[in-house]
């Protein structure tokens, strides 16, 4: 049974290592508002900023061009840095790139690598907590939207979504619908029906 826990709520009588939890006097407490399942002790946050994690693929915007590289806005409290040495092309201010987080150190300097410029298209921003829902089980949701709209869609872990070509308006509407109704069950069927209806209009 999953339940909603609040900051300071007791989640285990024994000390346990749980992300977003903390241990005090041999007991484990939650530090966020989230979902907690006792059978599978894991805290899932319901809200929150994107915190970069190594190997995440994100969509960034070039924020500043420097001699050594680029500062990249990755929709997080921290800015990413893309070294000019590692990038094959020169980017300009405002360019949109897909990139991988190479490393995050203890003071949250975010190192990026493997950048690829996303040319054209448009950007959509959603809450990072809802990204898994937009992707779906084994990419199901994403594949469905791609198939119906014939758009190129790229989803960053940071909640930025790049859409290009095809029926991009419909793709954006579908993604926003998923975000809005992320908490409901039977969403895949509903989105499928929604896409069918819109495509055949």
């Amino acid at each position: 049974m999953t339940k909603i826990v609040v900051p300071g709520e007791l989640i285990a009588g024994s000390p346990q290592r749980i992300e977003f939890g903390f241990v005090e006097n041999g007991k484990t407490y939650s530090s966020i508002v989230g979902l907690f399942d006792e059978a599978n002790p894991k805290l899932i946050p319901l809200e929150g900023a994107y915190m970069p994690v190594q190997f995440d693929i994100v969509v960034g915007i070039i924020d500043e061009v420097k001699f050594a590289g680029y500062n990249v806005d990755i929709k997080s409290p921290y800015r990413g840095f893309l070294s000019a040495k590692d990038s094959r092309y020169e980017y300009e201010l405002g360019d949109i790139i897909s990139t991988k987080v190479r490393d995050v150190d203890e003071v949250k300097n975010v190192d990026l690598e493997g950048a690829r410029k996303l040319v054209g298209g448009e950007i959509l921003e959603i809450s990072p907590a809802k990204v898994p829902r937009v992707i779906g089980k084994k990419n199901s949701m994403l594949d469905m939207i791609r198939a119906a709209t014939k758009s190129e869609i790229f989803i960053g872990k940071n909640g930025r979504i790049w859409i290009k070509g095809g029926n991009s308006v419909l793709a954006a509407r579908a993604v926003l619908k998923v975000e809005k109704e992320a908490h409901t069950t039977g969403l895949t069927e509903r989105i499928s029906a929604f896409l069918n209806e819109e495509v055949n209009k």
Partner: protein, 242 residues
Amino acid sequence: MIIDGKRCDGRAMNELRPLKIQAGVLNKADGSAYIEWGGNKVLAAVYGPRECIPRHDASPYRAVIHCRYLMAPFSTLDEHGRSGPNRRSIEVSKVIKEVFENVVVTEKFPKTAIDIFIEVLQADGGTRCAGITAAAVAIADSGIPMKDLPCALAVGKIGNEVAVDFGKLEDNYGDGDMPIAIAPRNNEILLLQMDGMFTKEELKKAFELAYAAFPKINALQVEALRAHYAVKKDEIGIERGD
């Protein structure tokens, strides 16, 4: 001010004013809460963690907390200046900031700032307590990790009687007023200010009354958060993309 053991608004000594909390009322803020406590109407908004401005305030060890408590010019009978911070609100902002520095897990977000805005739309005594109570809900709503959900309450003295949750009248004409903020998980005191004089016995009595009332306030905070998130319950990730 006390007639037949009842206070000027008909409350018993240990009775709180009607209290209503709502979480997530603002769209653009990362977290927000609205509280109505007696005649108080207070809105709290939280942004962050975000880039720290001014830059030299930032710490490489933890997030810094900025807090701005402000009374709207129309919040009381007498005009409250033109909305800019004054000496009183700067002090209140500082003590509220210190309350949250003790519960927010700031070490997780080095180099950033967490901004708390507390706007008093209508004041009726005990606004800093209402502000702290609302801001705690707003921070929880924003997803910033916190070790506890602080709540606050003002205890005061009318003659030789001690009573909880002073309103404006009692605050102005009573004999003492003591706002207390605690972390309800371990009952740690996060804020304790006092105006007037309390004897040792009165102080003890004041704490007894306050600690009896805190669980009620905390329950309402938790309820506000649960009500806001109940809809979102199965929202996330049982379906996780590989």
